[in-house]
Symmetry: C2
Subunit: 403 residues, 2 copies
């Protein structure tokens, strides 16, 4: 019960901003002395502090309380086909450190890729310590299916990995005093969009497209992981049974018609630079945007056709889930403004509820950092769920800092 009350206060400060103990007592239906005691305990744990005078307001500056961003950090990391990345967020949501490294996972061994990822996580943790903080947990997003109870990557068609105990491997390599968990990267990209305190972003469907298409479902501000953690594999809904063979071996999966490859195949001949994997994806997508802006008919037709398929699959999912918004992330976000009319047309046509059930189409503004941000958010959730978890880890980290 104690940790539940501490959690309530900490989340309230996150979602509604700095406020006085008296205001916290009113907001949360606590006595003033109970609110003060909870704030004192959170302060001892290094999780809240007196807010700056400019935000204290109304005659008694310095009596407001806010999240203490200086010490506790969560790390999010990502293991993808073409890159590994890591990012640290402090409790107040500020980016403390960020690293990213291009790789070619299909050309390297599992061990080499894991070592590179561990190197980035270590470097990020070092940055956190250098800034006077400590890492409370790390959550690693992987481009594949994660069996959550066993913490095993079971299938990763694009990495070409199978049955790798990524959780145990990372923990053994890191030997870290903080908790390490793994998660599907689409799920992490989804949770990054569910901005705390924004009522329009608590029930959303996030569709993340690169070569593969995945994503996640956020319901009531929480990730819907499913029974074994496999929810969000939207890319493998079969929408075109007479169509192309998918990387997973099936025919007509949604990603065969809505993924990056479908767009590039339709938009350009094989020798065209926009299909050259040696060039950066950002630059190739910028070139397609430029062509569409100039009215190039082939590019526009390709965006229209792929956009229609994006809308057809989105309509299926909207019939099932009626989210407040579909947030398109990954490559969709980069080139989405040219796809929007086709997507919205199919959404209106394919959803039974009037006006597509009020579901809006939005584009992510997080770029390719969505998964690592989501990972750091999940890592920090451990603290928001039970603020007392930091007590032990803080002592460990402070001792470790003296090594």
């Amino acid at each position: 019960m104690r940790s539940a009350k501490l959690s309530l206060v900490l989340r309230h400060l996150r979602d509604h901003g700095p406020r006085s103990r008296a205001r916290l007592a009113t907001d949360l239906d606590l006595t003033r002395s109970a609110a003060s005691a909870l704030v004192a305990e959170l302060s001892d744990l290094g999780l809240v502090r007196a807010a700056g005078i400019e935000r204290g307001g109304l005659g008694r500056p310095g009596t407001s309380v806010e999240l203490d961003g200086a010490t506790v950090c969560g790390i999010g990391a990502e293991l993808n086909v073409h890159h590994v990345a890591a990012l640290a967020l402090d409790l107040s949501g500020r980016v403390v450190a960020e690293h990213r490294l291009g790789i070619d996972a299909q050309q390297e061994s599992v061990e080499q890729v894991l070592d590179r990822l561990v190197g980035l996580i270590r470097r990020t943790d070092d940055d956190v310590r250098a800034a006077g903080g400590y890492t409370v947990a790390a959550t690693v997003g992987v481009a594949g299916l994660i069996d959550r109870p066993r913490e095993v990557l079971t299938v990763a068609p694009n990495l070409r990995w199978r049955d790798v105990p990524v959780g145990a491997e990372l923990r053994a390599r890191l030997g870290a005093p903080y908790a390490v968990s793994i998660e599907n990267e689409g799920n992490l990209a989804a949770i990054a969009e569910a901005l705390p305190g924004d009522p329009n972003r608590q029930d959303i469907l996030v569709i993340f497209g690169e070569v593969g298409v995945g994503g996640g479902i956020v319901a009531g501000g929480r990730l819907l992981r499913g029974h074994q953690g496999y929810a969000g594999e939207f890319g493998h809904m079969i929408v075109d049974p007479r169509g192309r063979r998918c990387g997973c071996g099936r025919v007509g999966c949604w990603e065969t018609v809505s993924g990056l490859r479908a767009l590039l195949d339709a938009a350009a001949d094989p020798e065209d630079a926009v299909r050259d994997p040696a060039l950066s994806l950002d630059d190739r997508l910028a070139e397609l945007n430029r062509r569409a802006d100039l009215g190039d008919t082939r590019t526009i037709a390709a965006l229209d056709s792929v956009g229609s398929w994006v809308g057809i699959g989105s309509a299926m999912l909207t019939n099932a889930l009626n989210p407040s918004a579909i947030v398109l992330s990954g490559y969709f976000a980069e080139i989405g403004r040219h796809m929007r009319p086709a997507i919205e047309e199919q959404l209106q046509a394919g959803v039974l509820a009037p006006h597509a059930g009020g579901t809006r189409v939005e584009f992510s503004t997080l770029g390719f950092t969505a998964a690592v941000r989501g990972g750091a958010t999940v890592a920090l959730d451990a603290v928001f769920d039970d603020p007392t978890v930091v007590a032990l880890q803080r002592a460990d980290a402070l001792l470790g800092g003296a090594r």
Copy 2:
């Protein structure tokens, strides 16, 4: 905070059964005096009582506490194309009263249908009073799309209703002292399957088939309603774009290939008795089961073909949601044993996660009472969420009882 603690105790007794105050204190991390005070308050509200000696156990019979089933009831009601129905559950989950009436909604006016439904709800409430209890809330499931914020039935292709303010109409007709809410019937059928306290039934997907196909998603034991309450319209995912026109006007909706009409069309010629809407659906389905048991090739082929489509749509939804179970309800439950092989084959083939992500195929045992049971469960949720809501209504009901 007080009502949250009362709620915690009441739910604990529902989910884990009768127990002593001392055990409650241990289970819920309360002091003994706090647990006793909460139990006393719940007892004053008429929600808990001393448990019978046979369950008290271990030397101190009579000290155990259990839910008091005698007084507080929730009513679930259903408004469907071919019937209206109502059922009352007491707090302990016992059926107190049940009524059902065949209608033909397409041949009657909206007013006539609503009047018949109101008559059934009144009769059910009378039964509750006659048994010495009172109704705390009623939840009505309707075979159509419900705009929850406005409480309006916006579209009901099979009822052929459009933009009917069912919530306000029912409240005006009933003039009842208890709360009345409306909900999609598929959602209610879903919540009826999420048995309190059963860990295997907290994250499920319920697919409810009659002529239309709908259902609901239960995540963490709670109904996922979506942004405006339109979640669960599985029947209108377009799975066969070159196929048949649907009642909703689109082409190839899942219900055109998995609904009751698709099965009957494939299984029998137009003049066959199994297609006679004047006969009871139970009897017609029993006849199809009999033919399949006898090895009739046409019947078996029809069940196989429709079962494959049920499996194809189930696989799409499983890729998105990874439920612990897909519970097939409505006509699927009556005839599902002959469909199971085809359903499971498509589920294994169409789900990316190994072994279909651990998702089991199950059949509802609730028959056509699923929606009314779910409605009564939702009505009682008001009490489990905040036990103090009964204080006023109880006084009203007792006064009303003396009219």
